[in-house]
């Protein structure tokens, strides 16, 4: 299968600067700086149909186009590498194997938007990735591919790596900007949106690692080629899917967007573990409602997954086998979100611990059917939280109630968890 981001991967080590260059690295940057205007670069990205790989799936080129053209003062690009969604580890795998695509992609994005200073906001635990990026930045700068007057084009671009102090909420783009400014990582009110007023009040674009790392290949090979790499005509490009859970080969794979869920689990993942059968999965990280065996043939692309009642999210697929108690699994996830709430708004700060309490009650066999109703109320009213953390946290609870209400009732009826002997 054709690989885009993983094409430079070397077994057991990170690709070197020289290898990346001989394999065609930085040709896109050279091409763009020599022969394309920033608007043309932006147009190619729009035409490619690339959608943000960080979870929301917003078209990347369109996001760039929201930045006002002739605004004085600095503008910023932030690469969001605060990958803390449970079940998601694609950015780490990518950066540990190859940091150069990202550096080239950021430089191209900066050229397209008119940014002269970009930041990579990286999760604290990603020490190897951060070291790779630092090395890649100095190598690129030494080669004249970064810094002032890149390749004699007159275009300046600097990249700084900022290691996060580490909280899930830092992945929310406005909280990330507060953290970068040295403030508490509380999300900001929108509007104003970051493209108008973001980091230090300037127009700011926040893109995911994977989105930016795809840019050089789109520029080098053209939008039509990129679109064609997907599995369906509606989808565009490849996607890093990171699979974990009860499959035979859990790993991060670069697969065509739109590949069917069953094909992913049955193909590269090698199917379920021996003796296990598929019960459910989180299709795109821990904040997405569950998929069940009914969704086996859903194409894993943004719109089809949304249509099926979940979200493609980050592409972090967590697979549960037939022995998993879905109440306990959900409880584990919501506990994480309750802990990771920034504490700013009431629904998230107080509502999530309430949900944890309800799930604990049910899981321990002390629950009754009225608890299901309270859970339902919380699914509805946690939507009105300040940012997307609490609604996201309720994703698996929503899935639990939609697909596994019988299992909850069984807990309540038996006074114990049916999955425990």
């Amino acid at each position: 299968m054709e690989q885009i981001l993983f094409q430079h991967n070397k077994p057991g080590r990170c690709v070197t600067f020289a290898e990346y260059q001989t394999e065609g690295g930085f040709t896109a940057l050279k091409k763009a700086l020599a022969a394309m205007t920033p608007d043309e670069v932006q147009q190619v990205v729009i035409d490619s149909g690339l959608r943000g790989r960080g979870g929301a799936g917003f078209p990347t080129g369109k996001k760039w186009s929201f930045v006002p053209r002739n605004l004085p003062g600095p503008r910023w690009l932030i690469c969001n590498c605060d990958e803390m969604e449970p079940g998601t580890y694609k950015d780490r795998i990518l950066l540990e194997a190859n940091p150069y695509s990202l550096i080239e992609g950021i430089t191209l994005a900066c050229y397209a938007i008119g940014v002269r200073h970009a930041f990579i906001f990286i999760r604290r635990g990603y020490e190897q990735a951060a070291a790779n990026l630092q090395r890649a930045i100095s190598e690129a700068a030494a080669a004249g591919l970064l810094g002032e007057n890149i390749l004699g084009s007159g275009f300046d671009c600097a990249i700084d790596v900022h290691v996060s102090a580490g909280r899930y909420i830092c992945g929310e783009e406005t909280a990330l900007m507060n953290a970068l400014e040295g403030k508490r990582a509380n999300p900001r009110a929108k509007p104003p949106f970051p493209a108008i007023k973001g980091l230090w009040g300037g127009p700011t674009v926040v893109n995911n690692v994977e989105s930016l790392a795809n840019i050089p290949y789109i520029i080098a090979n053209g939008p039509a080629w990129f679109k064609a790499t997907a599995a369906t005509p509606e989808a565009a490009g490849m996607k890093l899917f990171c699979i974990s859970g009860h499959v035979t080969h859990p790993a991060c794979f670069e697969l065509p967007l739109g590949m069917k869920l069953g094909d992913i689990i049955g193909g590269p993942c090698g199917g379920m573990r021996p003796g296990s059968s598929f019960k459910a999965c989180l299709p795109g990280g821990a904040s997405t409602p569950y998929f069940t065996a009914d969704h086996w043939n859903i194409p894993m692309d943004f719109d089809p997954v949304a249509k099926a009642g979940s979200r493609l999210g980050t592409g972090g697929i967590v697979v549960f086998d037939h022995k998993t108690c879905m109440v306990a699994a959900t409880l584990n996830l919501v506990r994480f979100y309750a802990r990771e709430s920034c504490g700013w708004c009431t629904p998230c700060r107080e509502g999530l611990p309430f949900v944890v309490n309800l799930l604990e009650t049910i899981e321990s066999g002390q629950g009754s059917d009225e608890h299901i109703e309270i859970l339902r109320e919380h699914i509805k009213y946690l939507n009105y939280a300040f940012c997307a953390l609490a609604p996201g946290a309720m994703g698996p609870v929503d899935g639990l109630l939609r697909h596994f209400e019988d299992e909850i009732r069984e807990h309540n009826r038996n006074g114990k968890c049916p999955c425990r002997s």
Partner: protein, 605 residues
């Protein structure tokens, strides 16, 4: 001017007005914790949910976050909005203690009100309540973190509005903690406002804790006598003891807040040594006898030393109503001098400044907050009139440039030092303000005012009614006591709430003092008649800008019940006045004295 419909009422509001304020403008209250007019929107508590039925935005929205837009149809009573608000209260009550009866905030608690209003009564959460360790925050403010509902008002006020740095928010999720890095007294000179701004009982006034419930308070709108700014307050009393003072909103003056110096200043009113009874020649007397004796002494002194041997002395801390009567008294006893000031320096300085700003060029605190260029000239606002420093900070936060003319001071904002007034680009400013005290050269300011039509001046006077008494000085040709005593003709002084230095009193054979404080003058006087403190009467002060402000009577005068002999309370002999409650406002005593003098002249006595 967007026009919208809120609960079937058509409302037209200014651009940028939030839905919450738009609703308030037609008397529709929407519950809120984190939103505060002085602090703006936060969107943290989520209790102000409303439902938008039609228009550009639809569904459940937070009314504090959403600016009113043309064509919006808003319902505050929609079942879904009500349910959302009920859930917020339920979430907040998960961890808030259920002990209102033993909480000092009980009865004046926003959370208590909304919990009852929303009908939340049955606890569905079965877990334990979260608890915190409290901090010692100094002698004035008590900290009870368990009561916190994380509205972030305190930290937004303390850091953003007041510029404090030693108090903030720590932790995340359910462990969010508002306090100091380590225990210790809060450093901000405006920390007392935490008590007012906290919607529950996390911060309470330590000096008044558990002394009274809200419904038992004696309270009335009042004005702070601490400096010449005239910040609006609501003093709170119970059983004839002044318990505490809270800020009262006045957008033109202090806004929503007051300084700690004005807030924690109850001791003078409650002082055990306050003159509570009339005293004649060191013997306790009654007010009538003391007034009669005073009349006799005035006559005797006149016969002995001739007319003009008595000086009538007031001060800049007396209420305007009493100050207005001093010239009448002086006229009737043919006083040798009418004085409102002790030193000649202060006398000439206040007069020339009143002259300067009398033309309407004085800047209110609101003018300072809205200014774009502020010059602090030869004064120290943070020490002389703290709320003026707070106003300067608000202007700075909105982008004003603050200049300090070479002077070693601190301000709660950034500022630029300049050598002289001429180095400040006043001409480029839209709304420039110069803040000074009486040490400034009025001639120079006068010239600047002539040169800059938009320029305003805020002179910080030494006392609450410096301005009002200075007007009287001009009208009645009053001189300073220093000048009056210079030729040695004055043999008697009638002091009305005046703080006369002992050195000046030494050579005066006769002194009568009408005062509510145990001053040196009271100690030296042969006749003492108690007056009432500002909280014990109606009256008015004229502040530094020439704004006359009325203050109302909060409590009756008298020894606080707490200060009485326990055996004597409850009283077994019932009287119409409380123990030590004979004190009268100075204006009433003066009026009586004047009437007695008039009656005497007409041969009635």
């Amino acid at each position: 001017m967007p026009k919208l419909i809120i609960d079937d009422i058509t409302v037209e509001v200014a651009e940028g007005t939030t839905l919450l304020e738009a609703a308030q403008s037609v008397d529709i209250p929407i519950p809120h914790f984190c939103w505060h007019p002085a602090l703006g929107r936060a969107g943290a508590c989520r209790v102000c949910a409303v439902k938008l039925l039609d228009g550009p935005v639809k569904g459940i929205q937070m009314s504090c976050m959403l600016p009113a837009q043309e064509g919006m149809v808003v319902s505050t009573t929609d079942p879904e909005a009500v349910a959302m608000r009920r859930h917020v209260i339920e979430w907040l009550m998960i961890n808030h203690p259920h002990d209102c009866p033993v909480c000092d905030e009980g009865g004046e608690c926003q959370l208590q009100d909304y919990t009852i209003a929303g009908g939340h009564g049955i606890r569905r959460y079965s877990g334990k309540k979260r608890t915190h360790v409290n901090q010692y925050l100094g002698p004035y403010i008590e900290h009870e973190m368990n009561r916190c509902i994380q509205c972030y008002r305190c930290v937004r006020y303390y850091q953003e509005y007041a510029g404090g740095t030693d108090f903030g928010v720590m932790g995340s999720a359910g462990r969010v903690y508002f306090g100091r890095f380590q225990e210790g007294q809060l450093e901000s000179p405006f920390s007392g406002n935490l008590v007012d701004i906290c919607p529950t009982g996390v911060f309470t006034d330590k000096t008044a804790r558990f002394r009274a419930r809200y419904w038992d308070y004696d309270m009335a709108p009042s004005v702070c006598p601490g400096c010449s700014l005239g910040c609006n307050t609501t003093p709170v009393a119970r059983y004839r003891e002044l318990l505490k003072t809270v800020a009262r909103r006045n957008d033109a003056v202090n806004g929503w807040f007051i300084c700690d110096r004005g807030r924690f200043a109850n001791s003078a009113v409650n002082a055990p040594l306050r003159p509570r009874h009339a005293v004649v020649d060191s013997r306790e007397s009654c007010v009538e006898d003391a007034l009669d004796t005073l009349l006799l002494r005035i006559h005797a002194l006149g016969e002995l030393h001739g007319p003009g041997s008595i000086a009538v002395v007031g001060s800049s801390r007396m209420a305007q109503e009493a100050a207005e009567l001093l010239p009448q008294l002086a006229l009737r006893i043919a006083a040798g001098a009418l004085c409102y000031r002790t030193t000649r320096k202060e006398s000439t300085e206040t007069s020339s400044f009143v002259e300067l700003v009398h033309t309407g060029s004085s800047a209110s605190q609101q003018d300072v907050r809205k200014s774009d260029c502020i010059v602090v000239y030869g004064c120290d606002p943070l020490n002389e009139a703290p709320m003026m420093a707070m106003a300067i900070r608000q202007a700075w936060r909105s982008g004003a440039t603050v200049y300090v003319i070479e002077h070693k001071i601190t301000l709660p904002c950034e500022f630029t030092l300049r050598a002289t007034l001429d180095d400040v680009p006043l001409a480029e400013a839209e709304r420039p303000v110069i803040i000074c005290n009486l040490s400034a050269e009025t001639d120079q300011l006068d010239k600047l005012l002539e040169g800059h039509s938009r320029l305003k001046i805020a002179p910080l006077f030494p006392a609450a009614n410096s301005f009002g008494t200075a007007l009287l000085m001009r009208e009645h040709g009053a001189i300073s006591l220093e000048e009056a005593l210079a030729d040695g003709e004055i043999k008697g002084i009638i002091s009305i709430e005046a703080d006369i230095p002992a050195a000046l009193l030494g050579k005066i054979p006769f002194v009568a003092a009408l005062d509510w404080q145990a001053t040196a003058t009271v100690q030296a006087a042969q006749i003492v008649i108690p007056t009432t403190a500002w909280v014990e009467m109606n009256g008015s002060y004229i502040n530094y800008e020439g704004r006359a402000q009325h203050f109302s009577k909060v409590m009756n005068p008298g020894v606080p019940v707490k200060g009485l002999d326990p055996a004597g309370h409850p009283p077994h002999i019932h009287r119409s006045t409380a123990t030590g409650g004979e004190a009268l406002p100075a204006r009433q005593l003066l009026a009586r004295l004047i009437k007695l003098l008039d009656d005497g002249n007409r041969g009635l006595s």
